[in-house]
Amino acid sequence: MRARYGLRFAALTYLMLLLVLPVGLVFYRTFQHGLEPVWNAMTDPDFLHALWLTLLIALIAVPLNTIFGVACALVLVRQRFRGKAVLNALVDLPFALSPVVVGLALFLVYARTGWFGPWLDAHGIQIVFALPAMVLATIFVSLPFVVREVVPVLREIGTEQEEAAWTLGASPLATFRRITLPAIRWGVTYGVVLTTARCLGEFGAVSVVSGNLIGKTQTLTLHVNNRFQAFDLVGAYTASVVLAVLALMTLFLMNLFRKETPRVDSGPRRDEALR
């Protein structure tokens, strides 16, 4: 019994010191001097532009990664081909790779001095230090989530129902829409929630390719950094709280959808079926 309380105490203290107190303190510090400074920080045009840009990038990146994620999961689970292991590893790579490396990689291809630079320049297309590169960076870092959530669900549902639909004369598209999609919808939803959270919070890759131009290419996370460097703590804390509230909403949705998904969460055996 003593050991049990000891373990509980150790676990809760660790979480308290590492997670709860620091995050709680930022909330307290934000509202410490009342609502007015917070309101001023939130109506600052730079803040509003950063918020809008963050949402815009997520609005582009999340649907693209959702479509890619479902297609990629279908290919990984339902098809046999050479190089499947390579594709599998590539999809996981953004999880293991530093976001700064991602930013540098895109920079070396799409910047003026990069591989495609001269061609892009000749056609008047600007990618780096503008929205397109920020979207590309965000897509890169949030690439794996939908794939990794949909793959185990596809494994689990098998192909019986799809085969039945085919024998009854349904077209591939109709089969996908009427049979496969409804079966994987919670996996997709869970993946979309994770992708969105990752998109809203991306910092490293975006800070390399965006050029960090205030009021132009500054997302909310870059705004936090910028306000902090300018000693504007209220501004930094306010933007942080907005991002933290979005994160807490993500947590809420994750809990909601995890209950709907029939399997246990990310265990080590989750994508073993893949190999």
């Binding site: 979480l15 990629c72 590893a89 976001p99 540098l104 990689a105 950094n225």
Partner: protein, 249 residues
């Protein structure tokens, strides 16, 4: 689909590798073994090893408490574990700096030290081991523990001889993910580390300042080291998982 992957992942990564050898293999080697690069790589891997070890112990402990213990608010604590995944890393760094920084309310100031880097990395890697071990603890056969107890084994012996062997694959796979994440982390450390060369400048931050000061070859060389390391981690992870699933059946 191949086009999507090519333009976003493959071609850019190829560009990094190409750029890193822009001034020959010798140039690559010189960039990677320059004193600043070596110092940052040593710090990055050293801090990540510490973080991996702390996570192995604390992550397993938290997973255990969340499954086997019961107390009011457990559900809330359980959902809080995922907060580091959902919270932007720059915010994570800022919150730690607010509590443990120069103007913190408890008078502890670890800002701009290596300890601060470890703390930031512990924050962002918290969920990996917990979420990897939790389902395995859930499926543990309690009868084995009871059998061991009835044969006279003490609490610690039961843990070491009966419980731990079952958890090892899950712990290792969580630790590998946490380690990989720690090595590449940028947002959480940039504010709290102070970015002091030779002292608190981790590899990702050094890559960033190399880009900023227009030394793309040096940045690319260091990136290739991290890239190679990411591949190795994924490979190790794959081996751990295969070993784990063979272990089970």
């Amino acid at each position: 689909m191949i086009g999507y992957l090519s333009f976003i992942v493959l071609i850019p990564l190829a560009a990094v590798i190409w750029k890193s050898t822009g001034s020959g293999l010798e140039g690559f080697w010189n960039a990677v073994t320059s004193p600043a690069a070596l110092a940052s790589l040593k710090l990055t891997f050293g801090a990540s090893v510490v973080v991996a070890l702390v996570n192995a112990v604390m992550g397993t402990l938290i997973a255990w408490v969340l499954v086997r213990d019961d107390f009011p608010g457990k559900g809330l604590v359980n959902s809080l574990i995922d907060l580091p995944f959902a919270l932007p890393t720059i915010v994570a760094g800022l919150t730690l700096l607010a509590l443990y920084g120069p103007r913190g309310p408890i008078g502890i100031n670890i800002a701009y030290t290596r300890l601060a880097i470890v703390a930031a990395l512990l924050f962002v890697t918290l969920p990996f081991v917990v979420r990897s071990v939790q389902p395995v603890v859930h499926e543990l056969d309690r009868e084995m523990e009871e059998a061991a107890a009835s044969l006279g084994a003490g609490g610690f012996t039961i843990f070491r001889r009966v419980i731990l062997p079952n958890l090892v694959p899950a712990i290792l796979s969580g630790v590998a993910l946490a380690f990989a994440r720690a090595v590449g982390e940028f947002g959480a450390v940039i504010l709290i580390s102070g970015n002091i060369p030779f002292k608190t400048q981790v590899a990702s931050v050094q890559i960033f300042s190399n880009i900023e000061s227009d030394r793309p070859t040096a940045a690319a060389a260091l990136s290739v080291v991290l890239l190679a390391f990411s591949f190795l981690t994924l490979l190790a992870l794959d081996l751990v998982r295969r070993w784990g699933s063979k272990h089970e059946s």
